[in-house]
């Protein structure tokens, strides 16, 4: 990325994206996850939307066989709708499509353990959760 491009991108995200995408609860969650991530790994240097995308799209062999990936139910495009195994529609995960996403700590506490267990076969780390949120906020 050239310095100009970087500046442009930064400017755009500051002027265009931020007003809709900042939310005190969500930012607080991210801050809390960052603090925890640092505790878990001293070398932690911030969340990455790209790592979040990779996590979202990765296929795991460690969870339930019928749900190898987040995309199994949520769909490949986070801006699109998903469908549960039982046929219920799932609203888009991208914050741009639903600004209220990730603004209820109780929902985050409920869904992260459930879905990480389901897909990865284990709890997610604070960094993984932060990456995921950062990716969804960027979408």
């Amino acid at each position: 990325m050239t310095p100009t491009k970087f500046l442009l991108t930064a400017l755009m995200s500051a002027t265009l994206a931020s007003p809709a995408l900042t939310n005190p609860v969500r930012d607080g969650q991210l801050a809390g996850l960052a603090a925890q991530a640092k505790k878990e790994d001293a070398g932690f240097a911030g969340f990455s939307a790209e790592r979040g995308r990779a996590l979202y799209q990765a296929r795991f062999a460690t969870g339930k066989a019928e749900t190898p990936s987040c995309t199994t139910c949520h769909g490949t495009d986070p801006k699109g709708k998903g469908q549960t195994k039982a046929g219920k529609e799932i609203g888009p995960m991208a914050v741009s499509q639903n600004p209220a996403r990730y603004t209820d700590p109780a929902e985050l506490e409920k869904w992260f353990p459930r879905n990480c267990n389901q897909v990865l076969g284990r709890e997610c780390t604070a960094r993984e959760k932060g990456d995921f949120l950062t990716f969804m906020i960027s979408q």
Binding site: K64, Q83, K85, A86, G87, K88, K110, R114, N117
Partner: protein, 379 residues
């Protein structure tokens, strides 16, 4: 001997035997019964609405015919075809030897058939009403008939309908045979109302009496509407107002159709709520207090509390999978004709998504006429 094949329009005098109301009654009844048979035996279940309406039509026609049997014109009156067993037997014996005597109105054998058809139709309407009320919780008897009554009526309704079909075949055959024997087109007679007058002209032919007929019809309509209104005020048996449960709707409804609690017995709900960490292969863990609150509500409103068709049926579980609604014997039987691909299509999203096809799934009633299969699409 005179030519026996005297055409209707020849010199032989004719008499209007079947008055217009009786002819209308006959052919409207043919239409209603045909609709009832097609919708009952051949059409998909969601034609139940048309089936019920054809039943109500038969009921209304029977009501009219009862009145017309007393104040209609001569040959519509019950008295004109109330033959004793002796006469009926004599006529039947004559028929065996392919002899018949020309009757102006109903012949004795024909009259016996009419009475049998009328009794069967009344039985079909009665059993249908009890069935609709008890099994489907619909119609005027929903507030009286229990599911058990409905099932008893169901055991009658089908065989009665088969018997009716047999009698209709006998009726048509009888008309055709008699038409040959007496050399008169009796089907045409039920359209034009006219028959050849071969017997000496009857004396004291009574004509229709419109005023008593209209009065009786008015009384019947008022009494009928009144009793229907009174019956409609009764709450359906075994159905309760179920207060909305927002926690259940949100937590359980997030992943799947929020099943009506009447669809499983209490023991199954208990099992479901105790195993949320592995909920049919999904991690559906909930905070303990929330899970307990939902369990209390589900168990309090489980199948045992309801008398709907679904609640009664789903109390019989699959012993191997007692927690799964879609494994119950009744569910499996009712859905076995649907190809797997139908369930897999996106608009359905799996067998657990009841409301993809059952528009009233949220009520737990699952009425036949509320079924609509989504358009068939590729995956």
């Amino acid at each position: 001997m005179e030519s026996p094949r005297t055409p209707l329009d020849s010199a032989a005098p004719t008499l209007t035997v079947w008055d217009l109301p009786v002819r209308l009654f006959h052919w409207l009844l043919v239409g209603a019964v045909a609709t009832a048979m097609i919708t009952g035996w051949l059409a998909p279940q969601w034609w139940m609405g048309a089936h019920l309406w054809s039943g109500y039509q038969v009921l209304a026609l029977i009501g009219f015919r009862l009145i017309w049997g007393f104040w209609g014109s001569e040959y519509s009156r019950f008295a004109s075809f109330a033959y004793g067993p002796g006469e009926t037997f004599a006529h039947l014996r004559a028929l065996v030897f392919l002899k018949s005597r020309h009757a102006i109105g109903h012949s004795p054998a024909g009259a016996a058939m009419i009475w049998a058809l009328a009794l069967l139709l009344a039985g079909l309407v009665a059993s249908g009403l009890v069935m609709a009320g008890g099994e489907e919780k619909q119609g005027p008897l929903a507030g009286i008939a229990s599911y058990q009554w409905g099932m008893a009526a169901k055991a009658l309704h089908g065989p009665l309908a088969l018997m009716l079909l047999g009698l209709i075949a006998g009726h048509v055959l009888g008309v055709l045979i008699e038409s040959r024997l007496v050399r008169e087109n009796l089907v045409l007679a039920m359209i034009t109302g006219k028959k050849r007058l071969t017997l000496s002209p009857p004396e004291n032919i009574r004509s229709a009496r419109p005023l008593p007929t209209l009065l009786a019809l008015a009384v019947m309509a008022v009494l009928g509407a009144g009793s229907l209104a009174a019956l409609a005020r009764l709450p359906p048996t075994g159905i309760y107002e179920l207060a909305a449960n927002p926690v259940y709707a949100k937590e359980c409804g997030a992943c799947h159709h929020a099943f009506h609690p009447s669809l499983l017995p209490a023991s199954s709900w208990q099992g479901v709520m105790a195993g949320l960490a592995d909920h049919f292969g999904e991690d559906a863990s909930l905070p303990k207090a929330q899970a307990e609150a939902i369990a209390v509500w589900l168990i309090a409103n489980a199948a045992e509390r309801w008398d709907t068709e679904a609640a009664n049926r789903f109390r019989t579980l699959d012993p191997a999978q007692p927690l799964r609604i879609t494994a119950t014997p009744y569910w499996t039987r009712k859905h076995r004709d649907l190809p797997k691909a139908r369930f897999a299509q996106k608009a359905v999203g799996g067998p657990a998504n009841c409301n993809a096809c059952h528009r009233d799934a949220a009520t737990g009633l699952y009425a036949d006429q509320e079924i609509r299969l989504p358009k068939e699409t590729n995956l």
